[in-house]
């Protein structure tokens, strides 16, 4: 797996990569929800996004802290200046795809997950969820 596009800032050692779907399962320039650690105590909903130019994939929590509903995967992809973000479909707050930071409220941010794509298959590092669960 040397040809992997490793996301910067991923502590490779404690990473636990799980296979989620094919890149092409994610709608073009949009997002979709995925379930990881299914049926475990760490079962978590994440949102996967696929950008329009490259096949780069981003993974963030699917939970919108404002509406408290699992909807972020259904939000619209945005670029705000240089940053990539998703707009919550419910009340339209924006969250950075790379940091999870909310643009409207400095106090709010959501979990992001390292992603890598290996010949068309999307892998997500779920160690963040296990850490959370601890």
């Amino acid at each position: 797996m040397t040809d992997l596009s490793e996301k910067p800032g991923t502590p490779a050692d404690c990473a636990t990569w799980v296979q989620v779907c094919r890149v092409t399962d994610i709608p073009f320039d949009a997002g979709i929800a995925a379930l990881i650690n299914e049926n475990t105590p760490q079962e978590t909903q994440i949102a996967l996004f696929r950008t329009l130019d490259s096949d780069t994939v981003y993974a963030i929590s699917n939970f919108d802290p404002f509406s408290e509903a699992n909807v972020l995967g259904r939000g619209i992809l945005c670029s705000i200046g240089e940053q990539l973000a998703v707009a919550s479909p419910v009340l339209k707050q924006h969250f950075s795809l790379t940091t999870g930071q909310c643009f409207e409220d400095a106090d709010v941010s959501i979990t992001t997950y390292p992603v890598k794509v290996s010949d068309g298959t999307v892998f997500v590092d779920t160690s963040a969820t296990t850490l959370e669960a601890k």
């Binding site: 779907c21 320039d29 995925a34 939970f63 509406s67 699992n70 945005c78 670029s79 419910v90």
Partner: protein
């Protein structure tokens, strides 16, 4: 004797200075010979922020007088000189320096002095009061030697003084005679929360303590002894037991004073001697002393105008609501905080963990706000105060005003937008909303500019949040006028984008972005362009190249609800439905346990469908002959109808038949905002056609067409556009009207605002649509014909397309449903569970309501 009228002012405090400013602003200072006696060694300074003297703000910083202000208005200020005698017959004032001055008008602005209870030992060294810069200098010196400080008096000033002692590094106690802190402003509940917060800050609070003696201490300088026998030792003792009006001169020289002090004044601020005025804290109006700066400022204004011969301003009392930060704790009190009004009702919210206490007092109808107490979180102060002052009707459930906003809803509608222009935003400086708006319109577009040119927010600061709200609201409005760029990704207005798409025959967002945009788009431009593309080419909205652009409602062809589920609104054209179809709706709703409601648009809305249920539900509806109602789209929504001539004894024409025809003609038309219509069978207008984007009313001879009506946030009656039309002409006009709207309106601009912003207005619109003044009507009709011809039911197309159905899977890698969607039962139907209910249900999954067992 100078020829100029001579005005003598006694007292150069906050109000005395405001008076001089008022004369200067009115431009009359020059015509007068003005002299001011100023007992203090320095000219007026900001007493309200006196405490900041301890946080490094120098006397100079606190000064209220701009460099050279007095000189430039040749006002003579006698520093450190105290007026000691009056001769009202000779009309002269004599001062401690032996100066005697003649006056035509005399103004007493002597303020008040701190009351020191005559407790034995109150005059010992290291006993202080808290009113002047000299007082603070003395306190600082006294504290230097000691380690403990006590404030006698737990009122507003007492707590502020206590903070000061704490900041000076003393172990601080507050001793209050009453059973609670700030007894005047807050009720017991509020007092308790306040006490806890202040104790958390390390200040010791002793309420219900009656100090009987102050003597020498053993470990510290003083020993205080209380009625209950207990004692406290302290080095510094600070009296903050209230203030008394400084009315010594008035008493001595025979002006009327109240029996508990205060110089009696009338609405012009004249005392019992018409040539002598009293303003500020020394004045007694309507049997009341006003211990706040705002009323004093108002008096200064009134007196100044009256002395310069004006007569249209008067002091008629003032609102004593206050908001302040005491030791970092927000405290606010509005109007009848104690609920003394007969049969008023109170709502209280207490957040034990954050120690937030909020109480509102409303009248017996529950429609008017009388008072409020806010402790720990005073963010609602501005809005509440305005509601109370302007008698604005309260929402149906007044408690919503103080309850934390759980969902996005909340009561923002009652923000500044709800206020009349006359609403006073800044009471200190008497600045109205209207005044702010004018200033903003004149270019004061930053908070700083706005404050300096209107003075709003420059005194107590209590109104700052509100001033900012007004600014933002106005800027937003202007924003639409100033830059018409739809967002950072396209330097074009919606109208310009529409033309680019049409003229260059652009078929996808991404082509448009390449050719004319920057970045990758956002939730503003993507749906807008998607709508334009649909208006022009009418592609299926879920084509891969369009799907990602759609607002979630369009993307999943249903309106998303607060818990992430969707509503289902099949088209029921004209509101006409057969019993069989009605039964189908009932059966489907029952099978999938959907909350069912008759909408305001003469159709039926089924709420609570999970993403993954949408296709199967629509399958059943379509099999039964239903089609999508576009309730999710910025598109034609409903064409309401009344029964018309078929049944109604008054009916002139068959309004139902026309409504059906119109709705089926324009269904699916994507537009800048939603479009609504209605057809009434006669002038009684039971279908409310005049509240619609286009409304049709039957006449004896044919149909009257009304345009650009709107209900919703800003209702507007539709204008009569053309009369007695035959059906063919009617449809022709509507085709042109709608297409012209689709071409030229801004994003999310209803026809009403579109017309309001249209140069030439209704006449121009008539020229374009009826007289074809732009020669585009043939084109408009052709474009409409193309839309009508290419209509498809998006839901039908979707369920016939397996690829598309994938989108409705809850998870790309699992068929499991969202376990976070939980419903509870209410009035025999489901509704989304509230947070608490979810937590409980989470604890015991089996308790999760039936919804989970729906056949999948």
């Amino acid at each position: 004797m100078s020829s100029k009228q001579s005005v003598v002012v006694i007292g150069n405090g906050m109000v005395g200075h405001k008076f001089l400013q008022a004369l200067a602003d009115a431009g009359v200072a020059a015509q007068l010979a003005i002299t001011v006696f100023c007992e203090e060694p320095r000219v007026a300074y900001d007493r309200v922020h006196l405490t900041e003297f301890f946080n490094g703000r120098s006397a100079h910083d606190l000064s209220l007088v701009e460099e050279g202000f007095y000189a430039s208005h040749n006002i003579r200020v006698l520093l450190g000189d105290k007026a000691v005698a009056l001769d009202r017959d000779a009309k002269t004032v004599t001062s401690s320096n032996g100066e005697t001055l003649a006056y035509d008008k005399l103004v007493l602005a002597t303020g008040s002095f701190p009351f020191v209870p005559p407790i034995p030992g109150h005059d010992r060294d290291n006993c202080f009061v808290y009113r002047t810069i000299e007082d603070l200098e003395a306190i600082r010196a006294g504290a230097a030697g000691g380690s403990v400080g006590v404030v006698i008096g737990g009122g507003l000033l007492g707590l502020e003084a206590a903070k000061a002692l704490k900041d000076l590094g003393l172990t601080t106690h507050v001793v209050e005679f009453a059973p609670r802190l700030m007894a005047v402003q807050v009720d017991d509940g509020g007092g308790a929360v306040l006490r806890k917060k202040i104790e958390d800050l390390g200040v010791f609070v002793h309420t219900g303590k009656n100090t009987q003696n102050i003597g020498a201490g053993d470990k510290h300088f003083h020993k205080m002894t209380f009625a209950d026998g207990s004692e406290i030792e302290t080095d510094v003792l600070l009296f903050s037991a209230g203030i008394r009006p400084q009315d010594a001169l008035a008493r001595k020289f025979g002006l009327d004073v109240g029996e508990r002090g205060g110089i009696v004044i009338n609405d012009n601020c004249q005392t019992s001697d018409p040539d002598i005025y009293a303003i500020g804290e020394c004045a007694l109006w309507g049997g009341r002393i006003y211990g706040l700066v705002a009323p004093g400022y108002k008096m200064a204004q009134v007196a100044a105008e009256h002395i310069s011969g004006g007569n249209n301003n008067s002091f008629t009392g003032a609102d004593m609501s206050t908001k302040l930060k005491l030791m970092g704790v927000d405290v606010a009190s509005i109007g009848d905080a104690h609920g003394n009004t007969p049969d008023c009702r109170a709502y209280t919210y207490i957040d034990g963990s954050d120690e937030i206490y909020k109480k509102i007092v409303v009248d017996k109808t529950g429609k008017r706000l009388l008072g409020a107490v806010l402790i720990g979180d005073a963010t609602d102060y501005g809005n509440l105060l305005q509601l109370a002052l302007n008698n604005i009707p309260l929402p149906e459930f007044p408690d919503a005003l103080i309850l934390p906003q759980r969902d996005g809803s909340g009561v923002s509608g009652l923000g500044v937008s709800a206020l009349p222009d006359s609403a006073q935003i800044c009471s200190c400086n008497d600045v109205s909303k209207g005044a702010l708006c004018t200033a903003i319109a004149d270019g004061a577009t930053t908070l700083g500019e706005l404050k300096s040119c209107t003075k709003a927010g420059t005194s107590c600061g209590g109104c700052n949040a509100l001033v900012a709200q007004v600014l933002n609201a106005e800027l937003e409005k202007m924003g639409l006028e100033v830059s018409t760029d739809i967002c950072e990704h396209f330097p074009y207005s919606r109208q310009e984008l529409y033309h680019l798409v049409r003229v260059e025959e652009i078929k996808t967002f991404y082509d448009l972005l390449d050719k004319h945009g920057a970045g990758r788009g956002c939730d503003i431009c993507k749906p807008a362009v998607a709508s334009i593309l649909a208006s022009c080419w009418n592609d299926y909205v879920l084509e891969p190249k369009h799907a990602g652009l759609q607002d979630t409602n369009d993307r999943y062809l249903g309106n998303m609800q607060k818990n992430g589920t969707y509503s289902i609104v099949p088209r029921i054209a004209g509101g006409e439905i057969t019993p069989d179809k009605l039964i189908v709706l009932g059966a489907v709703a029952k099978k999938y346990q959907l909350y069912t409601k008759i909408t305001g648009g003469q159709r039926i809305d089924l709420f609570g469908a999970r993403l993954e249920q949408l296709p199967e539900i629509w399958q059943e509806l379509i099999d039964a002959g239903f089609e999508t109602g576009h309730a999710y789209g910025k598109a034609l929504r409903t064409v309401k109808s009344c029964v018309g001539s078929t049944w109604c004894r008054y009916g002139q024409q068959d309004s139902v038949a026309l409504a059906l025809e119109v709705e089926h003609r324009y269904k699916g038309l994507r537009s800048p905002h939603k479009i609504k219509s209605a057809v009434s069978g006669c002038t009684r207008e039971c279908a409310e056609a005049q509240s619609k984007d286009f409304g049709i009313i039957a006449t004896e001879k044919g149909w009257n067409l009304y345009v650009c009506g709107n209900g919703g946030m800003k209702p507007r009656h539709a204008d009569l556009f053309a009369t007695d039309l035959d059906k063919q002409t009617l449809i022709k006009y509507v085709d042109r009207f709608l297409m012209f709207y689709v071409r030229t309106a801004d994003r999310l601009q209803r026809t009403s605002t579109w017309l309001n912003n249209m140069e030439g207005g209704l006449d121009y619109l008539r020229e374009v649509v009826i007289e074809d003044s732009l020669g585009i009507c043939a084109q408009l009709e052709a474009e409409m014909a193309q839309i009508v011809g290419t209509y498809q039911c998006e839901w039908k197309t979707t369920i016939e397309n397996p690829e598309k159905l994938k989108m409705f899977r809850p998870f790309v890698n699992s068929d499991k449903g969202d376990s976070n969607i939980i419903f509870v039962e209410e009035r025999g139907q489901i509704r989304p569970a509230q947070k608490l209910e979810i937590i409980n249900a989470g604890a015991d999954k089996s308790a999760t309501p039936k919804k989970e067992q729906v056949p999948a």
